[in-house]
Amino acid sequence: MTVQVKPLPTVQLPELRQVGKPLRRVDAMGKAVGATVYAGDFSMPHMLHAKVFRSMQASARIKRLDVSRARSLAGVVCVLTAADVPNAKLVTDIPGQTGQKQRTGSEVSVLAVDRVRFYGEPIALIAAETLDIAERAMHLIEIEYEPLPGIYDPIEAMQPGAPIVHAPDNIVARWKIHKGDVDAGLAEADVIVENTFRVPYQEHAYLEPEAGVAWVDERGVLNIRVSTQVIEHFRSIARAVGIPQNKIRIQGTMVGGGFGGKEDITVEIYLALLAQHTHRPVKLAYTREESIVAHSKRHPYIITHRTGVKKNGRITAAKIEVISDSGAYPYLSPYVLLYTAVMAPGPYRVDNLHVDAVTVATNNPFTSAFRGFGGPQACFAYEQQMDAIAEKLGMDPLELRKINYIHTGDRTSTGQAIESAAWLEETATRALAALGDKTTEGELAEKLPTSRVRVRHLKVGQGFASYFQSYGRLMWLHDTSQAWVGVELDGTVTVRAGVPDLGAGQANSLCQIVAEVLGVPLARVSIYCTDSAITPLSGTSTATRQLYMSGNAALLAATNVRKALLDRASKHFEEEAENLDMADGRVFVKSDPSQSIELADLAKVCAAEGTHLANLAMFKAPFADPIDPETGQGDVFPDFTFGAYAVEVAVDTETGEVTVLKAAACHDVGRAINRAAVEGQIAGGGMQGLGYALMENLIVKDGVIQTPSLSEYLIPTSMDFPTTTVIALESGTGVGPFGAKGIGEPSLTPAAPAVASAVADAIGVRIHELPLTLERVLAAIDHTKQ
């Protein structure tokens, strides 16, 4: 495929000394030598071990629950049921911050009362002297269920007479976006294309299962050391266990992977209750199987697109219906659904648009945040639809997109103007160009470990997908983040911020920004993070918000400290502050760098004179009113990231096996803060997207996960996919520090539709459902033969 790469506009980014460099991250070496103490690695004297007793039914009444035999087992210290903790309730849909209103019906009991609504719902907690005793006590809990009719399909769940998961009905949330005149738009169209797309569950499968240790200290403070994306959960935990918010302290650990699965409360509430009741330290670490059963999943969706288009390729109208399975409890489903609804038409100008989106309660595993937060599902559908339209019009898929791509200044589905660079054609053409020409049959024989005979059954295809995705939280949540920066008397720099580090380099980014502003080497910056009691709250490591929010907070704090330092140095040098600069741990006169002072010496002067060399800054995201409930119009997100993913596949027409031969990702990251980290996000997110497309198949039958281990639920290994070619462009137009955009979630979004598009190119028929299993691919090939 020869593709005309769209030239980039000239971008003049300021020259920076630390930011942008692929420096060794501040957390990297500790992890490489195994010195980092993760949540499950920590122990305390006299520590108890906990287990959670869970429902073995997806929908049932608890007829009888008797924990007396478990309680009397020697070594068992505490067994709790809902009867013991009647006030332990959590609001599932508020991820910890201010500015959110609770939805009705979103409050759940920590331990099931009378009824269970999903397989794995917690019923009782055990704390014992050893893990072995706690496990034995699990078998001594007596329970009798009366099965109740369950509902496992979101469409059936909306029908009259369907079993109700929570009164009054199974509709958890609805969003509508109405814009322009869809009927007129469809009437104006030359062609109408309608398709329904289905996407499955996805399991986070972080390598570190949920874990933590809790204890009540000498002042009565409940401490919880836990692997979490959200230390602000301390507020809802305080409420659930009945203690003041200033008597609870969450010490977040380095997280062994989160991807949204550690965004909702996990082990910390059970730890809190057990530590409170036993007054002893308690550890709880999930097994892999428990992790898969206990935490949320990516939402399965059914998305129907009805698109009107002119012969010239211009979209005249789109009607999009979105249905998602929320599972047994709401959690973040309403918000995930909103993201899907906003992104539903894709990065295309659609002036006449209806989106009707609904999320429905079932007795399936509950669904919530997963990297992309509703964006990947939307993208799979809109990009497949674009290809289907191109096919119908006999138009090149890239040409069709070029006609419809949104540009800076255009408006999204909700009428929000795009203010930053919207490099859609720029990224798509570069991703495609990186693939190069299609691999020939001759090359295949060399490339693949297969015989010549097999090669004859292989068909090669290429495909790509464009996307746009928000970063930063919903604007009406009035998001804030704080960071503290101070200079020590030896010229080193301290950063304090509540930011949880999931492994994406959240903590390091702040250090690298501060190092830039204060002109010190990165090694001189030390960060203390993720403590709800002693580090300023930075908000959640979710929604691709940390670089944007906390990066800006750190930038503000460091800039204020820099100003104080330069003001004092200005007196010292008798030069205007603007004529001074800071680098390599010194303050110097720009025109004559030999006139300089060590940062340490300047700090000592400031300290002696009582000049404050520390600053606590708060960054506030722009605020907007909630969108109009009838039309869905209004500003929703601070900004958007744009990019593309392209793949080449070989499809074995005899077995249905899809082999990815080449993969390339191109995103406008605004500005790379740490180039190695940014490329790592893009490659890793892309790989999760390839897994979503081809391998990851969470099978749920009557509400029960049939694949609760990593030998049944397969994620990509080093043998499954080639290394992604990563192209990170820098428009410098993002709202993050130095013009950065967010990339954590966007990196995953376009991979799966790109694979589906490449498979369609190879076999000549489109598959509307993920994952692209051997069976589905073979069935599609058979269909073409009929």
């Binding site: 991250r25 030598v33 499950g40 380099g505 990593l710 043998m719 290394t723 992604t724």
Partner: protein, 165 residues
């Protein structure tokens, strides 16, 4: 069966510990404080608990502690420290091969086992050597690159030490 005293030599330190026969090497190591050996699945699916057992990479969750009686065990923490890291650890830290870091100790062990028997691996050799180590963050590219860089560095060091021409 009752616990019996076994001898484990871990990162050069000898421990005599009383363990029941059903205790895995993974649990024994972690209980002794070697928490750099990570627990990811306890059934050999993920490789996070890999250690060198008499020089061979194994998933310590699939070995009973009794089977390791008298053995020499090396964990990632035994290879180097923050102050004096092994070339593999330097390369992992410097190339972005470490993201969340939970799979890292196991991957470094698999890489060490590979380089011990094959100091000049191809990309495909590396992919094979780490296929039992799941990583959910990186997409493996930076890990493969880090192992190649470490292999080159270790060969260079060996050459400059004058041992091989």
């Amino acid at each position: 069966m009752k616990p019996e005293i076994i001898t484990l030599t871990i990162n050069g330190r000898t421990h005599h510990v009383a363990l029941a026969p059903n205790v895995t090497l993974l649990t024994a190591l972690r209980d002794l404080g070697y928490t750099d050996v990570k627990c990811g699945c306890e059934k050999g699916d993920c490789g996070a608990c890999a250690v060198l057992l008499n020089g061979e990479a194994v998933n310590s969750c699939l070995v009973l502690a009794w089977q390791a009686d008298g053995a020499d065990i090396l964990t990632a923490a035994g290879l180097g420290t923050v102050e004096q890291p092994h070339p593999l650890q330097v390369a992992f830290a410097d190339t972005g091969a470490v993201q969340c870091g939970y799979c890292t100790p196991g991957l470094i062990i698999s890489a060490k086992a590979l380089l011990d028997r094959n100091p000049h691996p191809t990309e495909q050799d590396i992919r094979h050597a780490i296929e039992g180590n799941l990583c959910r963050c990186t997409g493996y590219g930076h890990i493969i690159e880090a192992i190649q860089i470490a292999a080159d560095k270790m060969s260079e060091d060996k050459m400059s030490a004058g041992g091989v021409s």
